[in-house]
Symmetry: D2
Subunit: 343 residues, 4 copies
Amino acid sequence: MIEVGIFGATSYTGLELISLLVNHPYAGIGFAASYSKAGEILSDSFPKMPSLHLISPGEADLSSVDLVFLCLPHGEAAETAIQALEAGCKVIDLSADFRLKDAAIYKQWYGKDHPKPDLLADACYGLTEITRESISGCSLVANPGCYPTSVLLPLYPLVQEGLLHGQVIVDSKSGVSGAGRRPKETTHFVSVNDNFSPYSIGRTHRHLPEMEQVLQDWGSGQTGMLFSPHLLPVSRGILSTIYAPIKNGTNLDTLHNLYQSTYQNEPFIELLAPGKHATLAHVVHTNMCTIGIALADSTVILTAALDNLLKGASGQAVQNMNAIYGWEETSGLVFTGGHHAST
Amino acid sequence: MIEVGIFGATSYTGLELISLLVNHPYAGIGFAASYSKAGEILSDSFPKMPSLHLISPGEADLSSVDLVFLCLPHGEAAETAIQALEAGCKVIDLSADFRLKDAAIYKQWYGKDHPKPDLLADACYGLTEITRESISGCSLVANPGCYPTSVLLPLYPLVQEGLLHGQVIVDSKSGVSGAGRRPKETTHFVSVNDNFSPYSIGRTHRHLPEMEQVLQDWGSGQTGMLFSPHLLPVSRGILSTIYAPIKNGTNLDTLHNLYQSTYQNEPFIELLAPGKHATLAHVVHTNMCTIGIALADSTVILTAALDNLLKGASGQAVQNMNAIYGWEETSGLVFTGGHHAST
Amino acid sequence: MIEVGIFGATSYTGLELISLLVNHPYAGIGFAASYSKAGEILSDSFPKMPSLHLISPGEADLSSVDLVFLCLPHGEAAETAIQALEAGCKVIDLSADFRLKDAAIYKQWYGKDHPKPDLLADACYGLTEITRESISGCSLVANPGCYPTSVLLPLYPLVQEGLLHGQVIVDSKSGVSGAGRRPKETTHFVSVNDNFSPYSIGRTHRHLPEMEQVLQDWGSGQTGMLFSPHLLPVSRGILSTIYAPIKNGTNLDTLHNLYQSTYQNEPFIELLAPGKHATLAHVVHTNMCTIGIALADSTVILTAALDNLLKGASGQAVQNMNAIYGWEETSGLVFTGGHHAST
Amino acid sequence: MIEVGIFGATSYTGLELISLLVNHPYAGIGFAASYSKAGEILSDSFPKMPSLHLISPGEADLSSVDLVFLCLPHGEAAETAIQALEAGCKVIDLSADFRLKDAAIYKQWYGKDHPKPDLLADACYGLTEITRESISGCSLVANPGCYPTSVLLPLYPLVQEGLLHGQVIVDSKSGVSGAGRRPKETTHFVSVNDNFSPYSIGRTHRHLPEMEQVLQDWGSGQTGMLFSPHLLPVSRGILSTIYAPIKNGTNLDTLHNLYQSTYQNEPFIELLAPGKHATLAHVVHTNMCTIGIALADSTVILTAALDNLLKGASGQAVQNMNAIYGWEETSGLVFTGGHHAST
């Protein structure tokens, strides 16, 4: 049994994390810190949440916990990570601060100098299914972005097999919780309801360099991928439609077998039968990534769905904690109850 | 450990029940029967559901199970109940067939003779918090309607204390899953989205005689209550706003204390602080009934919310099974996972 | 042809008003003022709006227009009204500043002294169908609240006929645009979607004294009415379900005839056949108020629907302008185009 | 002034058409025919619609009208078109029956022989902005599919200029009204709400051969385009995100100028500033097609939005009627009223 601390407890990812941790068999919540709600009881503001006492970040006793989760804005997260590491805590960072390996690229996309560039080399990228071995001995895990998780997991088998052959185009659609809990014009109900909006399309979204970095690490020559996110009128869920050109001559059965052999033992990856496509209904309120495979001439069209707050954030963060400590990876993540049903 | 059978497995309540039972510590699924999908694998049609083999109702081996859940239309349910009782099974009926005690009233509201009127006297009304003692020895439990559960639980303390004094007006609002899975014009997305519709208002909805019967059993003089349901553009959840005139001179604190003393040990009833109102966000994807109490002159305004598929149907059915067998009433009903969070 | 000015042009009611006025046969837009977007072009921020140049309120030349519409917060509106009246403009105020006749009641509900109490007596309450005669010679029209419009129009025939007999209970449900365009936690898409929430129920909402004042003016003895608003997950529309006790012995046909004779020549009131209920789909994107009548024993249950931004605000404001100038009351308000269809 | 007849009057496109025609300055509705609602009054079933008497298709007097609109399923439409043409009517067919020029391709995609292949050569493809000259003398207009309209209008300038250079990938998202009014599992509110689903992706949707035929007519070498539709949880609207590889060396300003010069006089095409993207909010309840242009290396990313029932169906059908008769093309299509506003 370990104790964990949570920074940014009242963000969407913080709330989701707390929901998971209250039922985790090996981890207890040591503290939950929040700037905006310090001093309050969590359940007073958030229906269905436990009645945790929220502290201010300054009150956090890092010596009392084994691991901290950072549900903070980028920039802020790095500062807290440094303190936590110095206090001997392990760190799982849900922000973007330790995802990019190159401080120059960080500056280019995030508009400021990285607060601690020498730590970048130590951070492990926590795409659990692919990197779990490196995570197990790691003190600082960079939890992947929600979009990259929905793109990298379905692309991995193609890259590993050397099948990818040309420019990948990713057309992604995300629910509104991905934009965070702070009220903005763009997240007002009236702006989102009955609407559907592209944003940061082409080569302009911050998750693009993260995806390209990983693909290049995996040995793909991919340098000019296109990534177009869109805002869906739903609360949760990401669906990415991925157009991946491959070498001629591979058929759908071969592809399906490749995915099956890669992912057959993964509890959080669901591979659909050929011709079936992933939908949000497959994944919302679960830690699953559901993948569908279609083939049109020499383009593989992958559909991949996940819950942006679970497999795309807090669920994967718990999965990474499980990997760090060598616990069953599904600990705290196999849900009971009505949320399995079709509604 | 017991084995249970489910009739009507691919209805919304059937699916929800299966989701609960696959995680129940003391009950296993012996069979799941469906007219429309017999011979198929459940997960092929319903994302997130387990890969159960569905049988036709005729193939059901009643001798192989201890209890059956009936997720069938009224009329059909009674026929199956008779067979199951004769085979020695206990029965929890989610239809309306055994809720009314008077066959003449059944005929008046359901438009046909009751298929087995002599069984009506044997059936126990399964509003678990109130009737759990009678349920424990009962072979045939009539699971309450979704609307009545959302009305009777909040009214009970007032009636018990003898405070109710005049005509109760209930203004209820329900999500679309309450109308069932069969596609109809009224459940088409385009009909429901951006819309809000009253239906069967006043004294014309079938749940009205059910509520009045129970209130009269409890000794309320209530005979002319008004009940106005409305269709909400949401998938799940009921919120009832209840206007209950009381005797002069009772204040809000006294009322709150009454509710607290009545329900303080109930795991599935959440009583809000005075002045706070129940919302769907309090309850969706849980087995909770959340109750808010307000007072305006001599009218108590109760707001009560529940998930129509859980506390309003399948969750309460499992709660009733737990009561029959004397298990911890929360068995299989305390959910882990992300659905606790605010989204 | 007159020229009008708009203050608060980028509020929801301001935008709606501009949409109406660009097609009005007798009124042109002289200026459109906005604090937050002064200096910008309206269409740059708001898709589908005309490319109007927005000025700051201080730049508004009151001598250049005949009438101003105030789409401002209460308190602010009164200040601007005074200046406009002094400059010789007619004023239609969409805020609450001139709806209540009693400055003490204003202070009680709005928490501050009324900025110009001596003007209260001069203001005409602009519930057009009922008060159009007084409006025609009026310089300062208080446009009714959205909820009161949806309650007073359906209650009027009962009050006029002297049928009302006891406490009225109003259970209202409104779309999110009623809460304004400023982003708040309560209007975040994730807070509203899949949710339904009561607020300010009983005798605590500011529209209650407005409704009681009018009912008392009409000679109803109504002093203790209950009014419970709820937030719907839709962008536009209000549906009020009204429980009105009446004297014994009136039947539904008599009631229907009463409503028909009262409203048969009103272009913006649609009376449904007995037993049919109003829904949001009847009214959204129109200036109609649709009314359904049901009777349960001696309670009339009225369902009344309107678009909160049109008949509940800007549409009625234009109707009031038409009444002031003696134009056909439907001028600028009979819509062409696809928004009539069922979707 | 002409008289028109409508077949399929109670389909979504039929209802939308009627809404437009009741306000058309030069066309009156001679008859409105419906199989399912013959003998009824339109407004009884459909709020906000006029009180038209619906006849059965067999009762239609083709000699009494100048033109008929066919809002019928494919196959059925061709049969009625033949009769109408023989009776001397002009025909605007909103089905797919006369869009494809090659009867063999029709059979391949629609699964049956074309009912009247010799008529295919006579039919004019009614993409009004591009083909209006051929329409003006045409008796049989094939109204384009909703998806093709959203793809062809934005691609046209690239093709005309000879800039297109490689495989086009179209990722489209449509609201539920595109699936028709008949209730199905896939259009049940509970199936669609909170969900997002790909379907018929790659090279499997019937609108693909329609688009490829037109592109080839325009001289594009396009033969292997990919087209992936998805179902959005909204009632109306299509947004297509189009990835179009172009010859190296063209910059965004040049592209924008090209589009501006092509479309500057088109009342129903809105070209956004470079870097702005089309959204559903730009177009819903209007006859506009809004186009955004972005450039990423040598791929143009076009975002194009339209209302599938207006510019994607009935609005364009009226536009085509206007073109046939040489009336102002905006006749009956420039909407007044509140639907311009941002909600």
